[in-house]
Homo-oligomer: 265 residues x 2
């Protein structure tokens, strides 16, 4: 009895010392205005650098997060996703609270939870929703300036909706991909592409299984040219077929773009 009990004690002590490694998923919201985008940069503070810095301080071990979407400088997010591994015994669900105490106020974790040790946010089927917001007025509205593109040029919303229909479905979106991007395939599927009027705001909401570099911003810029009458809705067919970035419209500015949510299937 005595011997068995000592064995048990030793086993428990060993278990306590050998801290289990776990993978933690974060839902990350941020105002991108003051950051050089998501990804680590040699010069400039990024969302990734702030997460790494604050997680490392919080958990007492070197942490390097993996992000789902490496958003550009100035792009905002309500729900980007990051994962990291830790041996710290803080419960995964509590990390959101503790980390938010350390992060700057323009980054806030919305949720933290443990996931399988091999789960990777870019190696699984997912559905992403982005919104591109346009404020229509005679003059810019200061409280909207950081989160929407201002335009005084009238936009024909019905024409934009007609144009949007050509993009829904599986297509080769090479014309809507920034030149120089290194990707194996430029085929992607847009599941839905809606254009919603919210008072003076026009919201382009696009949902898909993946997006090429600058794809949503090029779609927004191209749809705006249709709305302004510079292109016709039917021109979208030719733009897709061209497989040439020069065929599409301009890349709309970053600050109108918001990563709304990730859904993992």
């Amino acid at each position: 009895m005595m011997e068995q009990s000592m064995e048990e004690c030793t086993a428990k002590a060993a278990e306590a010392t050998q801290e289990r490694r776990k993978r933690v998923r974060l839902i990350v919201a941020y105002d991108g205005t003051n950051y050089h985008g998501w990804q680590l940069q040699k010069n400039g503070i990024t969302i990734e650098s702030e997460l790494n810095r604050c997680l490392t301080a919080l958990l007492g071990e070197e942490i390097a997060v993996i992000g789902a979407s490496r958003t550009d400088s100035g792009v905002h997010a309500l729900g980007n996703v990051a994962v990291f591994d830790t041996r710290n015994r803080m419960p995964a669900e509590k990390i959101s609270y503790a980390l938010n105490q350390r992060l700057p106020e323009d980054i806030r974790i919305q949720r933290s939870e443990e996931v399988d040790a091999d789960w990777h946010p870019r190696h699984c089927d997912s559905r992403k929703t982005y919104e591109y917001r346009i404020y229509r007025g005679e003059f810019p509205m200061p409280v909207k300036r950081l989160y929407s593109l201002f335009t005084y040029v009238p936009l024909d919303v019905e024409r934009m909706r007609q144009a949007a229909r050509y993009l829904v479905g599986e297509h080769d979106f090479k014309s809507f991909c920034q030149t120089g991007a290194q990707v194996e395939s430029t085929v992607r599927t847009i599941l839905s592409l809606e254009i919603e009027e919210q008072g003076a705001d026009l919201v382009i909401r696009v949902c898909g299984n993946g997006f090429l570099y600058n794809m949503v911003r090029i779609i927004a810029g191209t749809l705006m040219e249709v709305g302004q009458g510079k292109k016709s809705p039917k021109d979208m067919e030719g733009i897709l077929q061209a497989l040439d970035r020069a065929a599409a419209g301009p890349t709309a500015p970053a600050h109108g773009l918001m990563l709304m949510k990730y859904e993992f299937l």
Copy 2:
């Protein structure tokens, strides 16, 4: 004929030299985050100081605007109102365009127009609409942090609506006025007070003929205490009757408040 013609010429020249003084009204929108409120301060940049500086440079004469609502530090506006007099011959309607070129991007004139020489924004009947915005979530949302008050405490919206009804109409709002404010009368009329749910946002929209110092923020703070269960809707009767600032709830923070519009009757 010759003589008459010369007379005409002389008259026209005199008219051109004697520049007519006109009063110009501005509709002013701003993000109050980076300003020490509306009113001129010895230290600190204000909306009024920026308007005076840019108008003086634009029109080539010393300009001092008169504001309709001297909003506090951090309060935002879609439609505050200012007037000034000028002898510059720039058409009043063009001043908005020219002034916006000089103003910082967090202040934008929405309209400029000539008004009667004796028109004064604080000496005429008007109706003002304010919104106080509350974001309800488990954690703050970075892109909302500058324009709404975050709370994780659940709010019973129906109780808040019941409480709001006691405030509509003509009342002595002394309990809802910051102590120390110098006013002849603390009687005001609230024309409407609605509480609207916009997704996770709760918007308190109040319309009245005039508001005491901090009145909307004290109303918001008091209604939140009702929503949290710290006060009952019926308590509003006693709070009004007390004529004592200490009877009402706290002053809600400035950054949730937005001056929506002025209507002149």
